[in-house]
């Protein structure tokens, strides 16, 4: 713990504000939630490496479906939104409300771009034949990335409310800075989950001709 943290110790038995401690505990539980979803996706990719069958009955591999440029762009956008969120929290700690508003607007803008990319991706995949019902791959992929997208949408909504709340004059001082910090923790968490999803779901599909999952031959010992 740094000297600054010691100087701002909260008057609680742990020395940590209750709101902040609860947020961290929530994030730890959300970590387990996403851990389960990512594990399920990876296991089923291993068990069913063949991808999915499109509307014409042709076997398709997900590598041909993914658009790595788009996903890389949205990853970059989310990382930069995290940077702006850190600046917004810093501005709030310094009592610079205008700087806070500018940075939060940037975070909201980037969050909306990320959601737009995800909507485009889902629509494209659906028209290519990958649905949540027609394959195990579709089920795990949409549930995992959709759950993450929902988290991003909740974060965007939270920040929009916080932005407008800042105009009431009630979002100030230590309590206001703590509220912004908690919203920031949530936003950064959404970012770190995407860091894992980007590697575990997208990038690994590009290793080898059909990803690391093989050619789609049955994994059964006959």
């Amino acid at each position: 713990m740094s000297d600054t943290a010691a100087a701002h110790e909260a008057p609680t038995s742990t020395g940590i504000e209750h709101k902040k401690l609860i947020m961290w505990l929530f994030l730890a539980s959300d970590c387990m939630f996403f851990g389960t979803l990512i594990s399920t996706h990876l296991l089923y990719r291993k068990l069913f490496p063949a991808g999915f069958t499109d509307a014409e009955g042709h076997q398709r591999f997900i590598q041909n479906l993914f658009n790595i440029e788009l996903t890389s762009f949205s990853t970059f956008i989310l990382l930069m939104s995290s940077f702006l969120m850190a600046l917004a929290v810093s501005a709030m700690h310094k009592g610079q409300i205008k700087s806070f508003r500018r940075n939060v607007l940037g975070v909201i803008f980037f969050g909306v771009i990320f959601l737009g990319c995800q909507v485009y991706e889902f629509t494209h995949f659906y028209h290519q034949g990958l649905t949540i019902q027609n394959s195990v791959l579709g089920s795990t992929f949409y549930v995992l990335t959709g759950t993450h997208g929902t988290h991003v949408a909740i974060g965007v909504l939270w920040l929009i409310l916080m932005y407008f709340y800042s105009f009431t004059g009630k979002l100030g001082g230590h309590v206001g800075a703590l509220d912004v910090e908690i919203a920031g923790l949530y936003w950064h968490f959404v970012d770190i989950v995407w860091i894992i999803i980007f590697t575990a779901v997208y990038l690994v599909e590009y290793l080898g001709p059909n990803g690391i999952w093989g050619t789609g031959l049955p994994a059964v010992a006959q």
Partner: protein, 113 residues
């Protein structure tokens, strides 16, 4: 609660915030570079096992950089780190347990058909 009712931040605290501000800028640049390197890496003619290892290390690096600096864990009480780490460890343990439970190379996938 309005800011007018609060005491102004101390000079030490402001100096610390300025120092963190520079850390955030450096970290953002570093994250962008690592993400770019990840994308280049998957197209390089390197053995898959090596690429997977490097990708895992890079992701872990980005993950911990964000939680330590952007989420202030490096500046905050250790208890918060351990709270979060407990969730992280359980998530990883879930993955490891599933891998072992399913023994994925030997399972009969006809059960699911």
């Amino acid at each position: 609660m309005s800011s007018s009712h609060e005491a102004a931040p101390s000079p030490d605290f402001l100096a610390e915030e300025v120092r963190r501000y520079h850390h955030f800028i450096v970290l953002a640049l570093w994250l962008a570079v690592v993400t770019g390197a990840e994308i280049v890496l998957i197209f390089l003619p390197i053995p898959v096992a090596a690429v997977l290892t490097i990708l895992t290390l890079m992701s872990a690096g980005k993950f911990f950089a964000v939680i330590l600096w952007f989420m202030h864990l490096i500046y905050d009480k250790r208890l918060l780190f351990w709270c979060f780490f407990a969730g992280l460890a359980l998530a990883f343990a879930t993955y490891a347990a599933l891998i072992m439970l399913f023994s994925v190379d030997r399972i009969d996938t006809r059960w699911f058909s």
